[in-house]
């Protein structure tokens, strides 16, 4: 099996032979409770030069399938059946020696998290050299610089001498791409290569990856959770669900004509696609209101025009310690002003470091503004005494990003939701329990969830518990700080629908902090775009999306994956 030479990629292969073919692959993991099947009947084909995307939610087996192809399954996992054919050679049970020959040279890999996949004590250049050396390629400083320059790192020779902490997230991802492509493999496995990056950076990186792989004729196996991104970047899309391949085909055809119910569900709720559909529909003259009927149907609130929140010239300066006794000022939020109307959703959009979360913290009165005012319902919140702040907390509630961090793991769900009632001394034990049951109903969780602990729930369920907790005090304003960013698309859609439904039923006002413009389009009435602490553009969602005035906004809009796709404007 391992008789063929390493120079497999130089041997002439017929153009119609698949580079990678996975047939009936089954992968199982040994766990404490016996053997668990992670992947069954997986099959996919990648032709030379082709880009194939595997799409699926977390736990669907998409990464496991890709790891099996490069022979890097975790120690307790094994290929239980089927074949992985690399250019005709079955590598599903190849020896470790053969796999080492293939890795880097024939199959390259770009891992998911740029923050943890570079060794912090090695210079970037050394990490590239290691790969080159391991595959017997010239590895002088010039070769290293060339590889980095090809990945789009400016000033590569100097950059090679720097350490990972001196690089931004996007630059680290470029370095990882450089390492993955340094030996010009024939197949590149990119496992969520951009999910940790801002949208504009994501776009740049993917564009560059496209360009490089096209030039080199490299096939790409792209793993992603974003169907819009997959369809835009790949020739073929493979949809995985619960360890099975449920649908596969040319990407556009699959999007326009999804057959499997799971794919249909995915196509209907992927935010990037939904956002695109609205745009297409608009061009055809369908109004946004009809499309987003559920999200926009605000119950007849009499005070729709009243500004419940007024942010005036808000600034926040942090003092950063720089050396002994010295400090430099860092302006996180710079002269931001906007108003939030009662019963509407206002989104603050920006990339990481734009100061959007700092604004949220100040509105929640958890952080003192350096200057400027936050006026809630006619009262300046900075002038409140501790008793008034306590009352204010009842009326403004947060929902946080990380569903794993925002619930106390020591509290069961009942105690978690009951805590605000207890803190504010509302009702007696029986009435509080009744209220908790009602709240669980409102967020459509079974009442039996009460006795469970956060670690027994999925991310989306925890987020629904967090919503129930926020609703316990019947607040008027809810601040959602990236409340759906960490969730799988379907769960995300479910939570967004829930939020919209609660808004129409309870007349809630949302301040929605997010980096995801596609989500904004689905739920927000007004948008504030922030860049580096400054508010660069505000307006109604339609105005901002249809006629962005600032270059930055345009760049953000352009970076939504799937923006170039042609989709039927059917209502999801």
């Amino acid at each position: 099996m391992t008789t063929s030479d390493v120079t497999i990629h130089e041997a002439g292969t017929p153009a119609d032979r698949p580079l990678l073919e996975i047939r009936d692959l089954a992968i199982s993991f040994k766990t404490g409770s016996g053997e668990v099947q992670a992947v069954r009947n997986a099959h996919l084909t990648i032709m030379p030069g082709e880009t194939v995307a595997i799409v699926g939610e977390s736990g669907s087996g998409k990464s496991t399938t890709a790891l099996a192809a490069i022979g890097l399954l975790p120690g307790n996992g094994r290929v239980a059946g089927g074949q992985i054919l690399l250019d005709g050679e079955d590598i599903s049970n190849a020896s470790e020696k053969r796999m080492i020959e293939l890795r880097g040279n024939v199959i390259g890999m770009v891992p998911q998290d740029p923050m943890s996949n570079l060794n912090p004590v090695w210079k970037i250049g050394d990490q590239v050299r290691e790969t080159l050396k391991a595959n017997g390629r010239p590895s002088g400083p010039d070769d290293v610089a060339k590889v980095l320059a090809q990945a789009g790192l400016p000033d590569a020779a100097r950059r090679a001498k720097q350490y990972p902490h001196e690089f931004s997230g996007g630059m680290r991802q470029r370095a990882l791409i450089a390492i993955g492509l340094s030996c010009q493999p024939r197949l590149l496995i990119a496992d969520e290569p951009t999910s940790a990056l801002d949208v504009t950076v994501q776009r740049q990186i993917l564009d560059h990856l496209d360009k490089m792989t096209t030039e080199l004729g490299t096939s790409v196996l792209l793993i992603t959770h974003d169907l819009g991104l997959a369809a835009e970047r790949a020739d073929k899309v493979v949809v995985m669900y619960r360890g099975n391949v449920v649908e596969a085909g040319p990407s556009l055809e699959l999007l326009q004509n999804p057959q499997h119910p799971y794919t249909q569900r995915l196509v209907a709720s992927a935010p990037s696609l939904a956002s695109r559909r609205i745009q297409v529909a608009k061009q055809l003259g369908v109004s946004t209101e009809d499309l987003l009927a559920s999200a926009e149907a605000v119950a007849g609130e009499p005070s729709m025009t009243e500004d419940v929140l007024q942010i005036q010239n808000l600034s926040k300066v942090f003092k950063l310690r720089s050396g002994f006794g010295k400090s430099t000022d860092f302006t996180a939020v710079d002269d931001v002003s906007f108003n939030v109307k009662r019963g509407t959703t206002t989104a603050i959009v920006g990339e990481s470091g734009s100061g959007k979360s700092t604004v949220a913290q100040m509105v929640l009165n958890l952080l003192e503004p350096t200057s400027g005012k936050i006026i809630f319902d006619g009262v300046d919140t900075s002038a409140l005494n501790s008793k008034e702040i306590f009352a204010f907390r009842r009326r403004v509630q947060p929902i946080f990003q990380d569903p794993y961090g925002s619930l106390d793991p020591m509290y069961n769900i009942y105690r978690t939701i009951e805590e605000p009632l207890r803190v504010h001394k509302i009702g007696d034990k029986a009435s509080r329990e009744k209220k908790v049951r009602e709240l669980l109903d409102q967020v459509s969780l079974p009442q039996s969830t009460m006795q469970r602990y956060p670690n027994e729930l999925s991310g989306g369920q925890r987020q629904r518990v967090a919503i129930a907790r926020a609703l316990a005090l019947d607040p008027e304003v809810i601040i959602c700080d990236e409340a759906v960013s960490a969730l799988d698309v379907l769960v995300q859609a479910q939570v967004l629908n829930l939020l919209a439904e609660l808004q129409s039923r309870l007349g809630l006002t949302y301040l929605f902090i997010t980096h995801d413009l596609a989500v904004v389009r689905q739920i927000a009435d007004h948008v504030c775009v922030m860049e580096k602490g400054k508010l660069v553009e505000t307006g109604s969602t339609d105005d901002v999306f249809d006629a962005p005035r600032q270059d930055y906004t345009k760049a953000l809009l352009h970076a939504i994956p799937g923006a170039r796709l042609m989709l039927p404007p059917e209502v999801a």
């Binding site: 032979r17 084909t45 032709m47 020739d235 569900r265 947060p398 803190v423 469970r452 729930l457 989306g460």
Partner: protein, 316 residues
Amino acid sequence: MKTNHKAEHFVAPVEETPLLATDAVKTDDAPLSLWADAWRKLRRRPLFIISAVMIALIIVVAVFPGLFTQVAPDNGCVLSNSNGAPTEGHPLGFTFQGCDIYSRIIHGTQASLMVGVFSVICVLIIGVTFGALAGFFGGWVDTFFARLGDIFFALPIVLGALVITQLPFMRENRGVGTVVLVLVVLGWPQMARITRGAVIEVRNADFVTAARSLGVSRVGSLVSHVLPNALAPIIVLATMELGVFIVAESTLSYLGIGMPGSVMSWGNDISAAQASIRTNPAVLLYPATALSITVLSFIMLGDALRDALDPKSRQR
């Protein structure tokens, strides 16, 4: 081998992977808290079972020494029995003074265990309070407690104990209380450090911010959210320190600055056995073995607890 380049549109039969409701809640198996989960893991670990049985036995011995021996440990000493071999009713033989070794070990358990338990309780009260305040509030509070802790940390325990026990007040009141005092004064910084680290890890968690925005006060969130989540390493350290303090008591008694000779303790017995170690090693070996087993049990329990309470093993 497939040769057609044109990719066909493949759809798996729906029956193969039926569509489940998005994000359905598991309603089977019973709910589990952190402690219930830890208990489930613990009760199957031999390490835990052995150490727990040993500790239970030691506690019973300490509380009811009369259940295990009828022989009075000190007033029944007959010098003619000095260094005597085991006889009927005296299974481990006699000390240099002619006292029953077995009886002395049984009755000595109480003092050793008391020192350990009281020291740990006091260390927990002081160390956890200081550590939690330092970790939670940071800034100058943190600096103050950290430096204060460093001062005590820098004192070698034996040297520090020598100095402290020579204070007039301590000399006049030697007993369990003074030994505990010495151990607490020199032992709290370790606990404070661990608590501080655990609190810092938890204090920035979103659920603490969420509690604060619900209207919980800062100190309230420290008590109701931060500390319960920082408890695991504290419990592990406390268990292990219990063993360490029992050893320390013996060390101090051995050096003559621990328990007064009138109190029966393993350390005093080991100290008294110095003289006869060549002629009758059993006098030394038996109390030393009792000490080792006790300390080992607590350290083993600490180890088992550490594994069971490890948060990394808890994600599902």
